[in-house]
């Protein structure tokens, strides 16, 4: 399994952890799992559909991993994002970050999810009781340094 993937298969945390493990120098693994919630802004969500511009999404995830590698050298990262129809409680994204020390693992993991929400070309189609809506978050601009620095700030690094 690739350490970066956009896939319609169910995501498995053990897979992501396995992808960053395997060196005796690692002392910490931080992971993040994003789950489909049953409500959003007062709407009762029935399910989601995620759509991706897949070749670009994979490239941008690679870019984000590169940014994290510059910020926290030596951190090992894996990211899988799911697409297609997801039920309540399904994992939409899993991130694993392994490092010698915990501060870098936590920071890199948090950084990746913040950046994913900023610039990865993936969209969430929410189906709720009584309708559906495309969720629209950030205008994707991978060159926007203010956004990147905001993601760094949120890691508390």
């Amino acid at each position: 399994m690739q350490s970066i993937a956009v896939t319609s298969d169910p995501l498995r945390l053990e897979t992501l952890v396995g992808l960053v493990s395997g060196s005796g120098g690692l002392g910490a693994i931080a992971t993040f799992v994003g789950l489909v919630r049953d409500h959003n802004q007062g709407r009762r969500v029935t399910h989601l559909e995620y759509e991706a511009y897949e070749p670009l999404a994979v490239k941008v995830l690679e870019q984000i991993r590169g940014e994290a590698g510059t910020e926290w050298p030596g951190v090992r990262l894996a990211v899988h994002h799911r697409v297609g129809r997801l039920a309540i409680g399904d994992a939409s994204i899993i991130i694993a970050a392994a490092s010698a020390h915990r501060a870098d693992a936590f920071a890199a993991c948090r950084y990746v999810i913040e950046r994913v929400k900023q610039i990865v070309p993936i969209w969430k189609h929410e189906f709720f009781e009584g309708g559906e809506v495309w969720i629209e978050g950030a205008t994707a601009n991978p060159q926007d340094d203010a956004a990147r620095l905001e993601a760094v700030r949120r890691t508390c690094a």
Partner: protein, 81 residues
Amino acid sequence: MRITVRLFARLRDIAGLAELTRELPDGSTAADAWRELVEQFPAMAAYNASISTAVNADYAKMTTMLSDNDEVAFLPPVSGG
């Protein structure tokens, strides 16, 4: 020249199509392709200020000049994660 336009999320819903082809004059930019799209689908004008674009699966500026057979994608604000 002939280009392929890829549409995602609500833009795809508005057009009722994920992909379409366009004949554009030589020297056209991604912005020109977008303007023509908005003429055909006026509801897309709501995205004039928030759209991103990619040319051949790399993020690009709206001022990027297009070439024959390019794939131009228009991307509404993203919501992954």
